[in-house]
Each structure stands twice: as C-alpha cells, then as structure tokens.
Amino acid sequence: MPSHAGTPAADPARITAGAPATAGAADPVREPLIEVRDLTRVYRRPRTSLTRPGEAVHALKGVSLTVHRGERFGIVGESGSGKSTLLRLICALDRPTSGSVAFAGREVAGLPERSLRFLRRSLQIVFQDPMSSLDPRMRVRDLVAEPLVALGEPVGGRVAELLDAVGLPASAAGRYPHQFSGGQRQRIAIARALAPRPEVLVADEPVSALDVSVRGQILNLLADLADELGLTLVFVSHDLAVVRHLCESVAVVHDGLIVESGPVDDVWEAPGHPYTRALLAAVPTLEGLL
C-alpha cells in the first residue's frame, strides 16, 4: 500500500486512480480499500431531566465490513437501522464511539479534518436529494468546480469534461440548479463528486427521489462511470432490488448490526436472516404481482 501522507498533490497515481491502468476488468486479487472493524456509535438523546443524562441510543453496535478496490458494494437498511450513521463514519463525517475505519490502509476514524485531505479527494459522496445538496445560488460551473477549488487544484477544462461525462450539455455550466429537473440535478451532483477523480463514489439513496423513468438513466450512468473510471461504489439504498441491479456485494443493516452480507445474488435468492426475508417480502414487484 503506497503511503501518501500529507502530500496529496505529489500523488498523481492516486488522483487518477480509477484510470484503466489500475482498475482494469482483469483484477483477480482485489485488495481491501475500505476496512471497517467493530464500529460502534452511541448518541445521547437531549437530557429530559436536570439530574440524569439523556438516554443513550446505540446507533451502531459493532459493525465490520470490507469494501475491495473496484467493488460495487450495497448497504441496505430502513430508517433507524444505522445505515446513515455507518455511511457518515465511512466518509469520516462523524467520529465513532469505538472501532476503526481504514481507507487504503490508513486509519481515518477520529482524525481531525486537516488530516483528512487524502480522504476528501479519494472519496466523494452523492446525496439523496440534489435539491438540498446543491447550493441554489451557485451556478453549475462553480458547483462542479468547488471540490477542486477546495483542494487547491486547477479547474481548467475539467467542468466541461465532467458535464459531458454525465450527459449534460456544456451550456448547463452557466445555469442554476433550479433550472434543471430532478434527474439532471442528480447528474450535476455526480459530476461534482467526480471532479477530484475520486477512487470511491459513495451514493446515499441517489435514486429514491427520482421518477422511475429517470431512475434508470441515473443507474445506467452510475454503472457506466464505475466501469469507465474503475470506481469503487458504495451504494446505500432501502431497496434491495436496486442494489441487486447495480452491486455485487451487499450488507443488510438492521438495528445497528449487519445481519447479513455477501454476494448480492446469494442474499437475494436465499436470504438467511429473518429480517432480510421480511425486507424482500415487503417490496412489491411487478413481476410478482401480475
């Protein structure tokens, strides 16, 4: 594992990771990229009494998982399952109560923000609702360039390149988010996430707010980009069917624990945990109903 402490700019291989050279399809032995070990997170509810502390909420109760380089990894769970907490910890947006999160062999849990530049460059996020994750007062050009500016990198022709990659016209650069449809806004969010050439794209329910006809467009785009750029994909969803379409591996999160994980087809065809079975039975499918 190459060490690239503190000198992100002197690390061209890492920035363009994802380029075909490092992430070809022939990749027999995949190395672990994200390693989560025994992660717990306890929140305190606001106190309701002067004498006693607030109630403790165990959002994560000891979660371990490994995402390999180039893998498409799905995390499935319902609200309150702890999947959002897990995601925040993987992205180092929150600190765990105990346990570790390692990215490419480097511990990220509990690091101060100034030491996380390598992670901010290598791992980018697309959120569920592009209307609230894109600043309404910024033009698309500035939104897409912002991660580069934040990292102190030249923007150059990168914005046009990125807009083209996500299927938006170059003329989109001068417009504002509200001038686009939901699907187009999600394309902007994806272009922005890809700006610093990350290795990992984390997508938190990126298609749940979209209409079904547009959902396919975005899922196709994510699959294409993951192939072309050799991205590692961490895809969070409440819908196991969507995860099955896009991902190879899945972890089912329930009540702060991973109750089941493995190749998504195995989990789909032979769910081992009662909760996974309940989840599968609850999702109405056209095939099953007609």
Partner: protein, 314 residues
C-alpha cells in the same frame, strides 16, 4: 358513485389538467399513476376543492349525487372530511404539531356536528381501527412522539372518522420504509370505502388497485383494468413506464424513457408524449382521443381498456 367528466384545471393561461374523465364504483380501488408533473395531485386537489389560489377547475365531478367542482367553499366545507377525505404524502406537515393526536381525530368529527364527548370516544376507537397499539396512549401523544408510519395511520384515522364515501390517498406510503409501507397498504385496502390512490410506483398500484388511470402531461393517456393495462399496455408512455420499472439483471442496461417530464406548459401540442416517444410521426401533431377500440370494433367487448395513442403497441 364518483363520476368525473371533462375535469380541467387551469392557472391563468396554462392548462394543467385537461379533460379528465373517469368513474369509481362503491368499494372500487382505482390507481392514478404518472410521473411528477403529470397532473395527478392537481386532479385529486380539484376533487377535494383544495386547489391553490389562482388555480381553477372546470368540468363536473359528482359524488353520490353531489357536485364537487364549481360549488362555493361553504358547501365544500360540508363535504370535505365527511363525504370525501384525503391522506397526504407527508404526515408531519399535515398534522398539527401543537395538538394531541386524539383531539385532531375528534376535531374532524365535531366540525361535522358530532358531540364532543362522543367524538373523543370514537377517536380512540378509530385509532384502534387503524391498528395503532394502545390507542388510548396514542390519543394523548403529540405527532412528534410518533413514528412516520404511526403518523400516517393517524392521518388515515382522521380521513375515516366520518365514514366517507370516497378516500383519496396521494402517495401515502412514499415516505415510509418498505416493511411499514406493506402494512399501510394492507390497512388501506381493508378500510377504504372506495379509493383513488395516487402514486408514481407501479408496483404499489399493482398490489392494491383493480383499475388504473395513467396520466401524462395533464391528460389520462391510458385507462382500464389493472392487469390488462400492465400486461398489455397500448400507450407508448405506459409501455415505457412499465419497462423502466423492471430492474434488469446486473451488467445489462435499464430501459429508460428518453428526456424528462417537461415543465407545465412546455408539453408539445398534439400528443403530449410525442417529444419523448420513439414511435412519434407527423400524425401525432394532432391530439389523439382516449378511446376504447373494442367499443368501436365489430364486436364490442368493453373491458374498458382505453388509450390515447396513434401508434399503439402491438
């Protein structure tokens, strides 16, 4: 029971819903599907007399012999919440955060002339009927103390309080988890007197409804028995929606409908779908009427499967 004929909704010069006609019989469950911006919610709001200022409805809608469209607010007040009621998508914004849940259920009854004491009793009964555990305790809770699924059950209890003839649900399960959604759908199927169910989720409609109306660009483009429409869609939009709803195996492309739903007023003239349709020709510049070919053919069968398309599938 509900008969809607030529219902149109306008805002100034924009025609947002155009000439929508359908009926719902007693006990019937009808789904209204389409993407956001297709006019489904406006159709429902027009039936409830809840259109925003500056948006007006024309045409007729009659429920059990009473007009719902074009009548003064004071008459509508009498009907709304009694003859026809509605469950909205987001229960947190639809419930009063400062009022106990039981009082909110009772309020809709006292507004329609039920005595306060009797309304309170019935509120607890109703909360039990929508299968909330410990209804007495729930009645004393505030909305923020309940989960999303519980709040939506409270909304349903409010909607059912005066035994309406028709229940309208607008995406009532979209904000809920799938396991909670399943319970909610089963409950709605059980308690709804007659149902107009609005959703963008085809699988949800298929699990609940007997008949379906497909809307796009403010028009009904296809309608008929659900199985018939979903198994043998004729309109190209319905075909596209169904194809896009099926998740192909990993590594294969998903079917999509090119482009996006245009903003209101930006739909093309003629067939509203023609700018996104692979089969469109010059003929489509003329608007096709919603017709059931079985009725005009030599042997009318009349299962009620109608569509508005010049180049239907098959």
């Amino acid at each position: 029971m509900l008969t809607v004929e030529g219902l149109s909704v306008r805002a100034d010069d924009l025609e947002l819903v155009r000439e929508v006609s359908f009926g719902i019989g007693p006990g019937e469950r009808v789904g209204l599907i389409g993407e956001s911006g297709s006019g489904k919610s406006l159709t429902a709001l027009a039936l409830m007399g809840l259109l925003p200022d500056g948006v007006t409805a024309s045409g007729t809608a009659r429920l059990g012999g009473r007009d719902l469209v074009g009548v003064p607010e004071r008459r509508l007040k009498d009907l709304r919440g009694r003859t026809v009621s509605m469950v909205f998508q987001e229960p947190m914004t639809a419930l009063n955060p400062l009022m106990r849940v039981g009082a909110q259920v009772a309020e809709v009854m006292t507004l329609h002339g039920v005595a306060a004491g009797r309304a309170r009793e019935r509120a607890a009964e109703l909360l039990g009927r929508v299968r909330l555990p410990d209804p007495e305790r729930i009645a004393r809770s505030y909305p923020h103390q309940l989960s999303g699924g519980q709040r939506q059950r409270v909304m349903l209890a409010i909607a059912l309080a005066n035994e309406p003839d028709l229940l309208i649900c607008d995406e009532p399960t979209t904000a809920l988890d799938v396991t909670v959604q399943k319970q909610m759908l089963e409950l709605i199927a059980e308690v709804a007197p007659a149902l107009l169910f609005i959703t963008h989720d085809l699988a949800v409609v298929a699990s609940l409804c007997e008949r379906v109306l497909v809307m796009y660009g403010g028009r009904v483009v296809e309608s008929g028995p659900l199985r018939e429409v979903f198994k043998h869609p004729r309109h190209r939009y319905t075909e596209g929606l169904l194809a896009a709803s099926r998740l192909a195996p990993r590594g294969t492309r998903l079917a999509t409908i090119p482009g996006a739903v245009p903003a209101a007023g930006r739909f093309p003239g003629g067939c509203v779908f023609r700018d996104r349709c692979a089969h469109a020709t010059e003929t489509c510049a003329t608007a096709p009427a919603l017709t059931d070919p079985d009725l005009t053919g030599p042997e009318p069968r009349g299962d009620g499967h109608a569509f508005a398309c010049w180049h239907p599938r098959r």
